[in-house]
Symmetry: C2
Subunit: 216 residues, 2 copies
DNA sequence: CCGAATCCTGTCCGATACTG
DNA sequence: CAGTATCGGACAGGATTCGG
């Protein structure tokens, strides 16, 4: 009675879809990519997910060895969900699929997105060629948390937690940051606060390429 | 009434899941990765898919601009389904997700897999470091079709269609080829016929690394 | 409050039968 | 050969309730 639905396919990719192919599963993984989150954090940053579905996905991902429950460290108390090393390794597929997705000819830009989604999109849109010779560090403070974005030696690094020694610090919401970095908007026009070297934000924007839709 | 279910998420990745996140959708894309296939070809190489589901997926993928209907060329007649340029660009996400999937600690090797799945897995398992200095071309003849696998200058190329000038030609089924390339099996032990330079197959096997499971 | 478990309803999936 | 029609069952979505 308890048989899980499976493709029964020897292809590793298909077997992965048995684990992460259910609705919402990969978005849960996405939200966990920058560290442990509580059930209610996930519920909040995944608008539209039902509590029972979130429960089932977390249980399934835990059973698959992609997610594990952890005791929340310092300030907060209680349990939370975090990725296992294998789950964390999904960051690369997420980046590559995001890069493919950004070439969607009908991509919609008007919907809100979570801070984790915005920070991961940086990896998908990063263009190492454009970043040649660039060195810049920007801290980003969102309602959901803080992130540090660093470009150095043609490589991009995006990690949770700011450290205060960046060239600039932006405060606001993630949609505003993407409007500045990808859309060339002025920070003040989108309600983004900038401290420090405001020009650093412009240099950072130069590291990202516009997606090239592949029309039929 | 006809609203398609959507995550309503600004994240490009989530929007891609709106298009290819339904059950079977990505496996259909996988099967089309080496050229146009008819409805009945897809039905046969995707054991377990229902005809109505295949219909719905093809229609959805066509509407999304990932698949297009084509008139079948020369020998055969009738219509078939092929990837658009954007759909073809999914080969890279497929490769990277396959590489991630191959590190599944519970990966099952005993299920059969389609020729397309087997040929795509080569890309996921290829190790450019191990292929340094290697130059080999092998034609593979499967019941489902012929493929040419070439390693040269540290790069792997897998394309549909053999051309007869390879170092070796193998004839049999795709599971047998993978058993030889990944599992070190002897061709004669798995029912694989080899013509030409049999040692070329051994050299080719050296270009693929065993997956490293990431245990928790 | 957090983290679920439990309804109930609607949609989607899977299997088979059937038609142009 | 290439799908459409149909129907039971599984799964998702939403609200409510319940235990730490």
């Amino acid at each position: 009675m308890e048989r899980k639905r499976s493709y029964d396919d020897g292809c590793a990719f298909a077997q992965a879809l048995d684990l992460v192919g259910e609705r919402w599963a990969l978005l849960v993984v996405r939200e966990l990519m920058f560290g442990a989150r509580r059930f209610s954090d996930l519920k909040r940053t995944l608008p539209g997910i039902a509590t029972n579905v979130l429960s089932q996905r977390l249980a399934g991902l835990e059973d698959a060895g992609i997610v594990q429950q952890v005791d929340l460290p310092r300030p907060a108390r209680g349990r939370a969900y975090a990725l296992t090393p294998w789950g964390l390794a999904f960051r690369e597929p997420l980046r590559v699929m995001g890069a493919w997705a950004s070439r969607n000819p009908r991509l919609a830009f008007d919907h809100p997105l979570s801070a984790a989604a915005a920070m991961l999109s940086l990896g998908s849109m990063f263009d190492a060629g454009k970043a040649r010779g660039l060195a810049v560090a920007v801290d980003m403070r969102f309602p959901e948390g803080e992130f540090r974005v660093v470009v150095r030696e043609g490589e991009l690094s995006v990690e949770a937690g700011a450290c205060g020694t960046a060239d600039a610090t932006v405060t606001g919401d993630q949609n505003a940051v993407l409007a500045v970095l990808y859309g060339g908007a002025a920070p003040e026009d989108v309600g983004l606060g900038v401290e420090g070297d405001e020009a650093a934000l412009g240099r950072l924007a130069g590291a990202f390429g516009a997606p090239v839709p592949l029309v039929r």
